[in-house]
Every structure is written in C-alpha cells, then in structure tokens.
C-alpha cells in the first residue's frame, strides 16, 4: 500500500483522542480500561508508521519499531490482567463497577 505516513499518523491521533475521551468521560471502570487499550493501540500504530517511513526513506529495515510494539503488546496484556483483577476485587467490595463509588464526583 502506498498511503502517505501522515494518514497513518492521523488515524493514530484519532484513535488516541477517542481513547482519551472515553478515559475521562465514562464511569464504568471496564470501559475505562478498554479506552486505555485503545490508546495503547494508537501508540503502536504510530510506532509502526514511523518504522515504515524509516524503511521507505532509507531502504533498509530497522528493528526498533516492531520490537517496541511487541513490548507494548506485552505491557497491554499485563495491564488488562491487573486492571480486571482490581475490578473484580472492587466489585466484590462495593457491588458496582462505577468509578463514582471510588472517587468523589467532579461537580
């Protein structure tokens, strides 16, 4: 595919912004965790856009981008596991998954 790098970065920016909005606006803690996953995915996309750009400018392949993405995927899996275990512990104590029960509301 010969899509310019800018379009990949714009897609990554859109996904990241949607993730940020979900992180701040939603109160269901599971949806907040999903928003974090969205942001991590956007970062991965930006890494790979950079790797592709570099490869097509220099004509040589570089390992940094893809290796970084595998580490980000590992950290995302860890984050999902720990986050969901916390959600289960929280639900067991409060019988809800609303963040309002955890923190004071904004208004």
């Amino acid at each position: 595919m010969s899509v310019p790098t800018e379009h990949l970065l714009v897609l990554s920016a859109l996904l990241f912004a949607i993730g940020v909005a979900g992180f701040f606006v939603r109160r269901n803690v599971i949806v907040v965790l999903m928003s974090i996953e969205l942001m991590l995915n956007a970062a991965n996309l930006a890494f790979l856009a950079g790797a592709r750009h570099h490869a097509s400018v220099t004509g040589a392949w570089q390992a940094e981008g893809p290796v970084m993405v595998t580490f980000v995927i590992a950290v995302a899996a860890v984050e999902a596991a720990v986050g969901l275990a916390l959600v289960i512990a929280f639900y067991r104590r409060k019988k809800t998954v609303s963040l309002d029960q955890l923190t004071p509301t904004l208004d």
Binding site: L9, G19, R52, E64, V82
Partner: protein
C-alpha cells in the same frame, strides 16, 4: 485497490472505537473494541507487518478480548439494572473536561504529524518477509534488546503472582476459625 482497503479498515477502526466509548452496554463495547483491533490488524498487514498483524489478532483479538468478555459476563454487566453509567454523559465538569483534553491531545498530535506527507514505496510486499522478518526481530530481541526482554518476563511473572493475590477471595480469620472448629 490496496489503498482503498486501508481507508476502509481505518474507517472501521475509528467507528468501532467511537462505539466502544458511546455504547452503554459493556458487552457491546467489548465487541466494538474487537472490531477496532481487527481493523488495525488489517492495516498492519497492508503496511507490511505480517507477524505483528498475526500477534495483534492472537493477543488482542484473542487473549485480551476474552479476558474483558469474561469479566463482563462474570459480573453480569450486560444486565441493564447493573449498568454503571446511566445516563452516559453525566456531570458537566467531567464531560467538558474530558472532551476538552481529548480535543487538545488531538490537535497536538495532528500538528505533530504534519509534514510527513511523503508517499513511501510500497511496503506491502517488502523483500524478506515484510517489515518485521522473524529472524531479524529475534536477533534484535535477544541481542540489543535483551535487557527489556528480560524485564518483560519479570513483569509477566510479577503480574501472574499479583493477579492471583488480588483475585483470591479474602478469608476472614473468623471464617477460618469456624472451619477449623468444624474439622
């Protein structure tokens, strides 16, 4: 043709990401997130990252999605009576603040991505197995990146132990005593 496929996949992933944030039913959110991940996997494949596309489908579309779906089903969150945020946009400070931060981040990222309008050579069929050839990745990971690799393995071990400690049902000392008395 391949370019058109990119824009279709990009549209799919953005619409599904919006669906994650905007749907009130958590089960629907999880399925939307799955659609978003699959769209991104298609983009990886088109950009020449074949191994990472497979990993994206296996780890994100498989493992992480199952984890989310499992917790949603376990806590019975599809039930409308257990919905945690009804109505969706509640609290003016939270909504305006969240959307403001989101738009600010979007503006900064769009500004930062300007000036990269180079049209790259077609990386879809890059020689030697795409832009993430397994041999090269393995050499880098066990060579220059061996320290972060080992750190990731320690992180995974710590996570396994920590999650078990967190999710284990806490027994109160009294319950233990009564069980011992019964035994």
């Amino acid at each position: 043709m391949v370019d058109l496929l990119f824009y279709v996949a990009a549209l799919l992933s953005v619409l599904c990401a919006l669906g994650v944030v905007l749907s009130e039913n958590p089960v629907q959110s999880v399925l939307m997130l799955l659609g978003s991940f699959l769209g991104i996997a298609v983009i990886y494949l088109l950009a020449g990252f074949q191994f990472l596309a497979a990993i994206q489908v296996l780890v994100y579309g498989g493992a992480i999605m199952v984890l989310f779906l499992f917790v949603v089903m376990l806590l019975n969150l599809g039930d409308p009576e257990v919905q945690a945020d009804e109505p969706l946009f509640h609290g003016r400070g939270r909504v305006t603040g969240g959307l403001g931060v989101s738009l600010a981040v979007l503006a900064v990222l769009l500004l930062a991505s300007r000036g990269t309008d180079l049209t790259p050579v077609d990386t879809y069929l890059w020689p030697e197995g795409g832009l993430d050839p397994l041999q090269g990745m393995a050499e880098a990971m066990f060579g220059r990146f061996v320290l972060p690799f080992e750190a990731a393995s320690v992180l995974l071990l710590a996570t396994a132990v920590g999650v078990m400690a967190l999710a284990k049902r806490q027994r109160t000392p009294r319950a233990l005593d009564s069980r011992e008395a019964a035994a």
